[in-house]
Symmetry: C2
Subunit: 327 residues, 2 copies
DNA sequence: TTGTAAGCGTTATCAG
DNA sequence: CTGATAACGCTTACAA
């Protein structure tokens, strides 16, 4: 591997001169040409590690995601990627496979690699999470969940829940089935649901049945095959669009009409809700925007600027074909 | 930031002893305890850069993907991630935004960072691509496209095309519409299509109309709204599952029945094809497997083992509800 | 403008 | 088993 010394020697100058050429470029026209020529010939590339070692800066951002096949995550990632690029950061994306241990591991690894900041897509917030984050000196920004004393960006999940609740009530529905996810996910499993429940139970004579599933389509589909036959509800609220898509498939299978027999809605605003039929009513979240703002906020954190602990982003109801007035 | 020197000083030993403890651990029970204690107290983490600088090894693999929101890419990525992890590699994933310039840029950046190998998801293979790859000394493995003298993993796209052709002919169809993508993508735009065409035109009395779109759902949907009304075909072959899903939506919109009015199929085997109705006939590609084998092959390349230039992976027809016999 | 030399945090070598 | 010392490739005072 050719290094700065080789270039210096071949060009007949000191390596510091080459370095200067590489960085601020303040060298004489003559040496500039000589160096340029040699670099071209040899295909020399400065070693990024040596550079980071010296400069104590890596220009890298770490991102920890729970899984690679999540539509929402990918949209946020696009925002992150785009913004990081603009700001001159290189991204290291690591996958934790929905596993707490691996989340901690990745956090440590990234810290060791001296990334300047870390964005972590949080699924849950345990004591261990909070402690690990506090133990690394790298700034960490959580996306999706909040916790005491930790910087985070979150969606207005409670409000999203109330939006669906309000809308469903206005359609005249009174009996609901809520298809939720585990409460370990505070934002999606608890707040989103609670917003819905609070809004609906504010009206007398309403009922809410509950079913719990996970984030996968297959699980929701399988459970849907059962609960659709047993429920008394006329409106089914799914905690995510993926779940809604899966329940819709189950309903089709069982020859139920949506929205004839049941109204159905999700949360998220994934592209998929627009490519099934009927198209699914949902609450659209500003995923890409979240990525953009996350990087900006992280940059401020890195530069030790003052930033609010929690930033939350608004969402909005998107009415599609899967919901209809109660009759 | 606490470093190996601090630890050494506090433990009252030489930094080389600490280093030895860190690496092969061959130190006396006594010093081991002392060092362990200090490390715990200080939360010391060895600096990965200094380490890489010295060891001339980074244990990192670079991955260049064209976009973040592709279902197939993400599946391959899962295979890559899983295998890389098993082999002790750390992943750097970079996004090129379907832009050649950025592909070259990323290639350079990764090489500079001294990743040990690079996996590149190729969209097209230009002279420039080939030259850039040959100019870096880092081993590069292409996924999805092949070229003279370049290591790559590809799907049997031509064969996939013939499989659909054979199947459609067996159903009795003779008039086809092929919804393709640009020929810059040799594998998907040319070979997949050619396999289909060759198989179908082997039978006399067949016709194939052609339409071209891109990889996005929206474009395919919009075009579908038009070509569905104009075509003479009874079977529509879409170059990807995404296109098929979008065309299905357009067909629904126009009140055509699938497979009553048109049979419809895609390529890829994405999860989405199973969550629309009717479910879509497709050719399932072993994406995850491709990721796994890619990393294994790249590792061999890195270790300078002998490997075949091109590896191709089989796929298989998955018959679903969107296709029916011609009547 | 250019060169010398020190140092970034590690690991490896080689005496002791 | 342990410690001094020389690298690894680069940047940056400081001096010339």
């Amino acid at each position: 591997m050719v290094n700065i010394n080789d270039i210096a020697k071949q060009a007949g100058v000191a390596k510091s001169t080459v370095s200067r050429y590489l960085n601020n470029g303040s060298v004489s026209e003559d040496t500039r040409r000589k160096i340029e020529k040699i670099i071209k010939e040899t295909g020399y590339k400065p070693n990024a590690f040596a550079r980071s070692l010296k400069a104590q800066k890596t220009n890298m951002l770490g991102v920890i995601i729970p899984r690679l096949n999540s539509a929402s995550t990918n949209e946020v990632l696009q925002g992150i990627d785009e913004t990081a690029r603009k700001l001159g950061y290189q991204l290291i994306i690591t996958n934790s496979d929905q596993n707490n241990e691996r989340e901690f591991e990745n956090l440590q690894t990234l810290a060791k690699q001296k990334v300047e900041g870390i964005i972590m897509f949080a699924r849950e917030m345990t004591e261990d999470h909070i402690n690990t984050v506090k133990s690394v000196e790298t700034p960490v920004l959580f996306i999706g969940q909040k916790a005491e004393g930790i910087h985070s960006m979150v969606h207005q999940d409670y409000e999203a829940g109330t939006k669906i609740g309000k809308y469903a009530l206005e359609l005249g529905h009174r009996h609901f089935l809520y298809v939720g996810v585990p409460e370990t996910d505070q934002a999606v499993g608890v707040e989103r649901r609670q917003g819905f429940i609070d809004r609906v139970t504010a009206v007398t004579g309403t009922t809410i049945e509950r079913v719990e599933t996970d984030f996968s389509r297959t699980a929701a589909y399988t459970k849907g095959l059962t609960f659709l036959k047993e429920t008394e509800a006329t409106y089914i609220v799914c905690a995510t669009d993926n779940i809604a898509v899966a329940v819709l498939k189950a309903a089709n299978e069982l020859n139920y009409s949506i929205p004839g027999d049941f109204s159905l809605s999700g949360f998220g605003g994934y592209e998929a809700t627009a490519y099934v039929s009927p198209t699914i009513t949902t609450v659209s979240y500003p995923y890409r925007q979240m990525g953009i703002e996350a990087v900006n906020k992280l940059r401020q954190l890195i530069e030790k600027e003052e930033v609010p602990l929690i930033t939350d982003l608004q969402n909005n109801l998107v009415v599609n074909e899967s919901t209809a007035p109660f009759k």
